[in-house]
Amino acid sequence: MKSLRFTLSGSAACFRQPDVNTLVYFTYNNIHKVALLGLLGAVLGLSGYRNAKLHGQEDPIFPEFYEVLSSLQISVVPNTKNGYFTKKIQYFNNSVGYASREKGGNLQVREQWLENPSWTIFLKQNNLDDIVWDKLCSSLLEGRCVYLPYLGRNDFPAQIEDMHMVELFPSRQSRIDSLFLYDGDLNALGGGGPAQYLFVETAPTGLVPKYNFYEFGRYIFTNCTVPEAVLPPLLYADGELQYCFY
């Protein structure tokens, strides 16, 4: 299977969690599927979440990027120890006077940022239209884009580097070297020895039609072994490591 592989990084990132909307904004630790599709949509020039009425259109079922790209399958490897990026809460004021209804009109924003995040990303065409896939591959390989891709906030440009087409083979090993989705019992994961680590995060896997709410899944990154019976589907290897697509 041909796959497009690249490194995605930046000096900071913030993929906002929608479940906290007061005092502090938190970020997910890793780029999730919806955010990655949005980033690729920007590269292709697809439109994102926007006010459809303003553009004289009916509200679509999905934003254009999701409509077009959701059949794409991805695999994500966090390039950091144990899959965990350092984070810091940054503070700034929005004092234009429009941002807060409180006296004085000052909005204090506290926002958690990932620092120096880096991921190795694999893309798999799956059912994506040939024309779109070819355009996506050529844009990424040649370093071109229509809108500038960013990591959650438009002042965090995304660095896309080391782009290659690679050949991957179906595989069924018990060790998975990328993030994967797993709903089962965490105690079933074993091995790893004293250096065992298990990173777990519930993060978006898709969008709910019409309302653009996230659908969630449990992302795992671990050096434990996964019992054969509960191995996720779509495992591929490059001869050295094994990656899970979702």
Binding site: T86, K87, F92, G97, K103, Q108, E115, V146, Y147, D155
Partner: protein, 310 residues
């Protein structure tokens, strides 16, 4: 005149005995590994102030008005978005068409360059700005943060305080020398969706870009508040891409280093030159503006015209 080609570049700000951008504690903003940085907002604010002084309409800036209130009497307070919009562009109510509002928004020079989020009176408008500025990292290694005690002219009004007979102390926090390097991009394609939607709007313009370019060169120097009075624009690099180029360059500040060379400050752009060399055919021309009195530049193989920043 419409501007359609992309621009990438670098903006450098020096801070001498000044605090270019503080966080809630009053210290310069830092990452977890104590690297100092400044936000895009810290750089945009002096630009907006400069445009405002020159008489251009600026929407997203604090403006005050005097309001009468039964309990508190007459007090000044900031305008809200609706009030500011009305002050600049006239009436806004539920029946105002989005076309009209969009057209008016784009007539403000800050919106034309940096974009807007406008949610007021049944309008729900989000414009990603053509100009995007990143976080600016302090690339100078020998930066020290200094805390100075300053005396207040007033006595402590708290009667229970031990120091109630003396005037109070405060602190002022500065960096002795820091050099913030920002990377920016200008992508006129961000507005393509709005052409024809907004009254009288034909996309990003050369005039708006020239105003940004001028502000990017001098606005920080011109801006003199207490904490920013030692901050000045030191270097500005503009890489004009060819008309149809869709080349993507991210975070050019990665390829810049800053160090001292005797009593002058040296910006080393040779890595940047190496990075740009294989992409030369996508580039129309490169312009570099710097302060010729204080700044030296190591160009490497960079092919650019050089001007004074003022």
């Amino acid at each position: 005149m419409q501007k359609t080609n992309r621009v990438y570049g670098i903006l450098a700000v020096g801070a001498y005995m000044a605090n270019f951008n503080a966080d809630l504690s009053g210290y310069p903003k830092t990452t977890t590994d104590s690297h100092i940085f400044g936000s895009d907002k810290a750089l945009k604010y002096p630009m907006k102030r400069m445009w405002l002084m020159q008489g251009d309409p600026i929407l997203y800036i604090k403006s005050m008005q005097s309001m009468k209130n039964k309990e508190e009497g007459e007090k000044i307070q900031p305008r809200d978005l609706n009030e500011r919009y009305t002050e600049l562009f006239g009436n806004l109510d539920e029946k105002t068409s989005s076309k009209e509002v969009l057209g008016k928004l784009f007539s403000a020079i800050d919106v034309m360059n940096f974009g807007a989020t406008f949610a007021e009176k049944k309008q729900n408008i989000s414009i990603t700005g053509a100009v995007q500025i990143n976080q600016g990292r302090n690339l100078f290694e020998d930066t020290h943060v200094l805390t100075q005690e300053i005396l207040s002219p007033f006595r402590n009004s708290n009667e229970k305080s031990e120091g109630k007979l003396a005037s109070t102390m405060g602190t002022k926090i500065v960096t002795d020398e820091a050099h913030y390097v920002y990377s920016f991009s200008v992508n006129p394609a961000n507005y393509n969706d709005f052409i024809g939607l907004a009254d009288g709007f034909e996309g990003y313009t050369v005039e708006a870009y020239e105003k940004f370019k001028w502000a990017a060169r001098v606005a920080t120097t011109a801006f003199n508040t207490n904490s920013k009075s030692g901050c000045e624009n030191e270097l500005a690099l503009f890489i004009e891409m060819k008309e149809d180029s869709q080349l993507y360059l991210a975070n050019l500040d990665r390829y810049v280093t800053v160090r001292k060379k005797e009593d002058r400050i040296l910006f080393d752009l040779s890595k940047l030159a190496n990075f740009l060399a294989p992409r030369q055919e996508e580039i129309q021309f490169v312009e570099l503006y710097c302060n010729p009195v204080t700044v030296d530049v190591e160009y490497g193989s960079l092919n650019c015209s050089v001007y004074s920043i003022y």
